[in-house]
Symmetry: C2
Subunit: 353 residues, 2 copies
Amino acid sequence: MTALQNNTFIKALLKQDTEYTPVWLMRQAGRYLPEYREVRQNAGGFMDLCRNTDFATEVTLQPIDRFNLDAAILFSDILTVPDAMGLGLSFVAGEGPKFAHPVQDEKAVQQLAVPDMEKLSYVFNAVASIKNALNNRVPLIGFSGSPFTLACYMIEGGGSRDFRLVKEMLYRRPDLLHRVLEINANAVTAYLNQQIAAGANAVQIFDTWGGILSDAAFGEFSLQYITKIINGLTKQDANGNQVPVIVFVKGGGLWLEQMAQSGANALGLDWTVNIKDARRRVGDKVALQGNFDPFALFGTGQSIEAEVKRILADYGKGNGHIFNLGHGIHQLTDPERVKDLVNAVHELSRAYH
Amino acid sequence: MTALQNNTFIKALLKQDTEYTPVWLMRQAGRYLPEYREVRQNAGGFMDLCRNTDFATEVTLQPIDRFNLDAAILFSDILTVPDAMGLGLSFVAGEGPKFAHPVQDEKAVQQLAVPDMEKLSYVFNAVASIKNALNNRVPLIGFSGSPFTLACYMIEGGGSRDFRLVKEMLYRRPDLLHRVLEINANAVTAYLNQQIAAGANAVQIFDTWGGILSDAAFGEFSLQYITKIINGLTKQDANGNQVPVIVFVKGGGLWLEQMAQSGANALGLDWTVNIKDARRRVGDKVALQGNFDPFALFGTGQSIEAEVKRILADYGKGNGHIFNLGHGIHQLTDPERVKDLVNAVHELSRAYH
């Protein structure tokens, strides 16, 4: 295996010196790209796209070919794991994900088990295929949902406005929720380790819904299980290179100090956090990824440059910053504005390194 | 005018000593109460209920009669102000509020003006009627939406999942958004002053959507205008009693230090904030209101008591805490659990005073 041609992203995650601030975007392969919409039309449903190695490889590389990004991220979905548990995932147009068999009572919780990783081989095959297609241009990020975020979908049976059923289980039957989270943590650990074995150079754990928890509940029901996963991860690839771990908790800005103790190499920040304060709060413990408001991409080239400038100046001089959005890119975003963003980060960040 | 029989709430807002921690609940008059649903059935639509003085008085007093609460809050809606601006408010069943004439272009922004307060006289009449019916049992809270939160509805034309149109205006045409916010701030100042003149003993500014802003944008587009309102408020009632101001920004936990500089007497906290940290961060500047997870009311009597105990212990000894939920009560809440909550706060808090 040859070395990565552009290793800036991995170096920044490990807080090593780089010449500029690397940038990638959450959901960078997606509906805002016309070339993605074209593939999607031929592929059928969303999960068909994830399950087909060629399609998954093609769409993962689309933003890499179009923009000067410093990392690729596996095209997949966080719900592959509960799907492999037999909960019956489907995507209803305009409604989002649905599970035919949500986990809503004691019996359903008792029947839940870590799935056979064989059922997820399509994901590991996609990782290997993408690695091959990337040909070491940039690193590849593997990912998973956090145990709590997966539990939200598994218990609600899909998305939710208020996650009342999850909260009800949390407050009435914390023992049941802990069992779900324990199983999810074991499943995610095996899942990410297989992505690493297949060639992922870094992994990100998405805790999209951790931010709905109370301050007291976040540690017990989300962060504890993220920490458990990180402890169980293979932290080196086949060549002895370190595989860094990123933890992103949307709405988790109040809990950065705790999250910095999780063993993660980097924390993702949403746009509500001041990155200067965040850096002061976490000290040298972790790198920081973020935190441009995805809706600021609906601004002008000029306003985008001003926002990039502000975030770079707030982070300040030195290593350990990976530029990203504070959440996934919106499907109505103009790809030309993404180009403005990536170029601004690359040009303006050199002064800080 | 005779003095309030139970003045614990006002004293706590002013950080004076009290014998126990006062408690009220956001949206305490509402659909979770069977007696509310009955009145609602006879009243017609939601705005008809707000506009009818007798109905508004009756539902405001319902939770006061049922629970041992330390404050009443005017039954109304934050969208009365943009409605009075002529934007054509209606409530579509199952869909929430809609404006027939949203403010989406330069022309609509230019036409916007502070409404004649005469159009809102039904609100001030309700305040006077409720004051009379309360007969000084507990204080009455008046309220308004914040300029930014009102702008969200005015620009989107109703609720929104992502507030893309507001953000687009913010990043592309900040001048237009500033004009809307300036008008809203002037309107809200007049509106709250008239509520105070009609008898409100305290006022709360709800910034329900301030938390969607980036750290940089929050100060410029939301807090600046809240501060402007507070500067313009009559801070005494006709008898020379101080009328305290509460500012509640949902998702604003990262910005408490800035908010404590706004001139508010108290800050509302949602449930993601650790109230001990919050108290340390704001020091003696303001009282704190909150911050029980509304979904913890779906727990058991025992789990509710445990949560109350935790929050009281986290706040610790001394004055300046008003117990409340971290957001409005959910319509499926069992009123018996609310009784558990109120009783637990009153009993357990005496040890801290």
